[in-house]
């Protein structure tokens, strides 16, 4: 570890992995509820399981981003973190607030939670992914601002690099666009319109900048390719992301009551969204092929290559599948969307977090890389989780195609629940793929506890 203060990243990474486990467990619960509707009812109804599954995802990714930033920024800025103490305080606040929110979701009915937490002051609850009670939302903003203050001050007092600049823009964007979660106009069209400013401009905008900068950082460290080359790629990727992603928001505006031109704007610009992801894949492979050194942390390099490929497939290809308005007319809100969501989130954001954790954790534990045995196990977990998500995606895609056909295209369209019954086989297969994913995750966690001869730092 080059800078002592990088150590604050460690609790963030540990919390991220812990919440990741929670996310997968709730994924399995609701996966089962797809086929056994009464499972765990009334203790954990489907809508609650879904909320916990998606909220845990967001929170663990945020923990990962923050941890990653705390690790990356001091090294890039070549100076200690502005305030490690502040980072640790924020860690505990965020963890406690996050845990309390999840407990709230599970312990009381959602409407009661809304009453208890002052939703009547500003009505922000009840919207997908932004279900957090008001105090949690305020807490997220406070933690984000303190976090941003901390890393921005660090960058300002140290060296400014392209990577830290892109990361800062991404993280500031993340905070700014979250503010739209407080804006909940009575007009449901406007509500949806701005809701996407948080949801879409996160995952198809500023988060891609975070992804790009993490990837660039790990590639510089593991391949030894010139910073100049890597930074140039980063600029190209950022530009491509913004060209396609910002107006690409329009692919959510096809059927929500917005003017018709969004069908063209959304289709055209979002059709270009695979390009930055493809560039990232080419970038990762190109840099690894041109490497000037053999970094002992093979697992981190594997995650770096993996995130490039899987983000391109999940976000790029599976996104493109249903992004054109005439296609989306049939596929909107079906299992095709779920298929895309699973592979995109795993490929882009889960994997990039696992990559930065894989690179940073051994260093935080005082070595350049884990022992061979540990790395082999980690690589096994890479393949188990990645192959499982591929199968989850394929099964959901099959379910989605059938659903579109049975429910929307056929001459004798079936009601929603009847169509669901007919595709249950695919939900069963998805559930088993989910079990395999959990096994992969257990193997991943085990790899942290496997010793063996370590590579010196």
């Amino acid at each position: 570890m080059q800078y002592k203060s990088q150590a604050v990243a460690k609790p963030y990474f540990i919390a991220a992995i812990g919440l990741f486990v929670g996310q997968i467990l709730f994924g399995l619960i609701m996966g089962l509820q797809y086929v056994l509707g009464d499972f765990l009812f009334p203790a954990i109804p489907f809508n609650v399981a879904r909320m916990v599954h998606t909220n845990l995802l967001i929170v663990w990714l945020l923990f990962g981003f923050m941890g990653g930033a705390y690790f990356l920024i001091p090294e890039e800025s070549e100076t200690e973190l502005f305030s490690p103490k502040l980072a640790l305080i924020m860690f505990w606040i965020f963890l406690v607030a996050g845990a309390a929110t999840i407990v709230g979701y599970l312990a009381v009915p959602y409407a009661t939670l809304a009453e208890l937490t002052g939703n009547n002051i500003i009505e922000t609850m009840g919207r997908e992914f932004l279900e957090q009670p008001l105090p949690t939302k305020v807490g997220i903003v406070a933690v984000a601002l303190v976090f941003l203050f901390n890393i921005t001050m660090t960058v300002l007092k140290g060296k400014k690099t392209a990577i830290s600049l892109v990361l800062l823009i991404g993280l500031w964007g993340l905070a700014v666009f979250y503010l739209f979660s407080f804006y909940n106009p009575a007009n449901v069209v406007l509500d949806k319109f701005f809701w996407w400013w948080t949801v879409h401009l996160w995952v198809e905008g500023v988060w891609e900048l975070i992804l790009g900068s993490f990837l660039a950082f790990v590639l510089i460290k593991t391949t030894g390719v010139d910073r100049e080359v890597i930074e140039k790629w980063l600029y190209v990727i950022v530009t491509l992301t913004l060209i396609s992603g910002i107006i690409g928001t329009g692919h959510h505006y096809f059927w929500i009551g917005t003017p018709e031109y969004w069908q063209w704007w959304g289709s055209i610009f979002s059709a270009l969204e695979p390009i930055p992801f493809f560039a990232m894949t080419v970038f990762a492979f190109n840099m690894v092929n041109r490497r000037r050194r053999e970094h002992p942390n093979k697992a981190a390099v594997l995650w770096a290559l993996g995130t490039g490929v899987m983000a391109f497939l999940g976000a790029g290809v599976w996104g493109f599948l249903h992004t054109l308005a005439p296609v989306n007319y049939y596929t909107h809100g079906t299992q095709i969307t779920a298929a895309h969501g699973h592979m995109a989130f795993y490929g882009a954001y889960a994997m990039v977090n696992l990559m930065i954790i894989s690179y940073a954790m051994p260093i935080l534990r005082g070595r350049a890389a884990n022992s061979n045995r540990s790395q082999v196990l980690e690589m096994w977990s890479f393949w188990l989780m990645t192959v499982s998500i591929v199968f989850i995606t394929l099964f959901l895609t099959a379910a989605g195609i059938l659903q579109v056909w049975l429910q929307r295209v056929s001459d004798t369209p079936l009601p929603f629940m009847v169509a669901q019954d007919k595709i249950a086989l695919f939900y069963w297969m998805r559930e088993w793929a989910g079990v395999a994913f959990l096994i992969g995750l257990i193997v991943y966690i085990t790899s942290f506890f496997v010793s063996g001869e370590e590579k010196a730092s």
Binding site: K232, W233, V236, I243, P259, W264, S267, I268, F269, L272
Partner: protein, 196 residues
């Protein structure tokens, strides 16, 4: 696009003018416009009569004037790059400035054209033809502005003596981008204003 005569000494070396990154960027921009142009063709094919009818409301003379302005602007930028290769410092910044002014002329003409259309109550939601007309020309408009920002930076740098026979890399990159803005218009103008 960039047909600058190389120094005799450089003749044997095949060299990409400007930075590779700017070429990636240009490629991405052109792909974006290509998708837009194809969408236009696709939508027009489904409703040729409507497109032809409303196309006649566009001011082709102003469009032609703008074509002239952009081509002239590109010519000045070519002269600037050639001047850099000759190490003719004064001529570099002067020609960049002329290129910039041509861009300004383009924007002025475009604003006049827009004012007439918007004044007549035309919007993105009027019909598909106008949707494409406004979208395509507006996205191009924004690119002209970006191109002019780049030219302004190049002008400032050239005044500080940043470019010369052995250091034309940045200038060439900016010039390549400006030529792209020009090229896009050369496709856009016939497609939207002229072709029936």
């Amino acid at each position: 696009m960039n047909t600058i005569a190389l120094d005799p000494a450089e003749h044997h070396v095949k060299r990409l003018p400007g930075d590779l990154a700017i070429w990636f960027f240009i490629l991405a921009e052109m792909v974006a416009f290509a998708v837009f142009f194809s969408s236009y063709a696709f939508a027009r094919a489904k409703n040729v009569e409507m497109f032809n009818l409303y196309q006649q409301t566009l001011d082709r003379n102003l469009g032609a004037l703008n074509t002239l302005l952009l081509i002239t602007g590109s010519w000045f930028v070519v002269l600037a790059v050639q001047a850099a290769h000759r190490d003719d410092q004064k001529s570099i910044s002067r020609n960049i400035l002329f290129g910039f002014l041509c861009g300004g002329g383009f924007l002025t003409v475009k604003v006049i054209e827009y004012a007439a259309k918007f004044g007549a109550g035309i919007s993105l939601s009027t019909n598909t033809f106008y949707m494409f007309y406004i979208s395509l020309t507006f996205f191009h408009f924004m690119h002209v502005i970006l191109g002019m920002v780049i030219l302004a930076v190049l002008w400032k740098q050239s005044r500080d003596g940043a470019y010369g026979a052995h250091n034309a890399h940045g200038l060439e990159s900016g010039a390549a981008y400006w030529h792209m803005v020009d090229l896009l218009w050369i496709v856009l103008f016939p497609l939207v204003y002229v072709m029936r």
